[in-house]
Symmetry: C2
Subunit: 200 residues, 2 copies
């Protein structure tokens, strides 16, 4: 991303720079004030671009949030993958995979739910939404591997179990009644459910 990009034209470099300014501006404003309190105008101003230009880089405000946060969630996923290695059994492995995502989601209370909303209900054809779906898919792959390693579920079933774990994870993070819960509260809720799904 740094060395091999020498032979790029001015056009491409400008575009890249602009994209980075947008991400930086949106990232900062979202973190500071929360998605709902920030206008696209403010983001455009801070990134020093025209109003319309912003929507050349993200089709809508939701896409903008995904653009900004996908990287964070991707990193969380990797931490989870690593954490699962050291786990003594499937339950702990699953929780190790899930925990960084929950932490990520609870980092900024309001934005976490908006991220989930966009992820689940946004337009799958948009590029950043596509990336978000890739993150879900990847997490299910990691979960599937962990379940398979345990040996109690064969091939097809392992993937199905992973899918169920995903459902439990998302629902627990998204549902309104869990909104006031912090990371530990959500983890407890997830653990209770996974203990039954994975036990016996």
């Amino acid at each position: 991303m740094t060395a091999a990009s020498q032979p790029l034209g001015r056009r491409e470099r400008n575009k890249q720079a602009k994209l980075e300014r947008i991400i930086a501006a949106a990232s900062e404003l979202f973190a500071q004030h929360g998605v709902d309190e920030v206008t696209t105008q403010q983001i455009a101003d801070k990134a020093d671009i025209g109003t319309g230009t912003l929507f050349l880089y993200a089709r809508n405000k939701g896409e903008l949030l995904l653009l900004v946060e996908n990287a964070t969630y991707g990193a969380a996923l990797e931490r989870g993958r690593a954490g699962a290695e050291a786990a003594p059994n499937v339950l702990e492995a699953a929780l190790a995979i899930v925990r960084p995502i929950v932490e990520c989601n609870r980092a900024h209370p309001g934005n976490g739910r908006t991220y989930l909303r966009e992820m689940i209900f946004g337009d799958p054809r948009e590029p950043n939404h596509g990336d978000a779906l890739t993150i879900i898919a990847e997490s299910e792959k990691i979960l599937t591997a962990a379940v398979q390693r345990d040996g109690r579920f064969e091939g097809e079933d392992a993937a199905t179990v992973a899918r169920t774990i995903s459902s439990v994870l998302f629902f627990s993070m998204a549902v309104g009644t869990n909104a006031p819960l912090g990371v530990e509260g959500v983890m407890k809720d997830i653990r209770r459910q996974l203990a039954i799904v994975l036990h016996r």
Copy 2:
């Protein structure tokens, strides 16, 4: 709702009539064109009320959708409760409970997802959202009862299993990749997961 309401003043009766006109107007327009294609202005016009009046009866457009559809989902829930009686085992009982809800959700492709979105991410303090949450709670109660009847899960655990079933149901209906699936497709997806959660 008809006979015992004689001693109501004109004011209360007017309010009731207006509410019914709003529900009728919104219901028809939503069904015909889909939530996103209908403006609040159109609904107000069709209900023959002022623009601002509409928002006296529903705080926002999402609440309006919940207001219109809650009754339908409530009825579906009752059908599910009845269907569960005849089921030979927990899996079939759970599927019998879930099926009418899925049918309801898939009745109008676009609106189903919007309903779920409002249900999960809407403001829990709004009255119609509260009703929607009651429907979720009620469905979990019915599921809990079915699980308990099976006898394999004790007290606390039965409720937890019901919660997991809820998660699977919602996620399967909401997730983008299942959007093109009809009722049977979604049911198949749910069955595959519940077979594992409830089996053994």
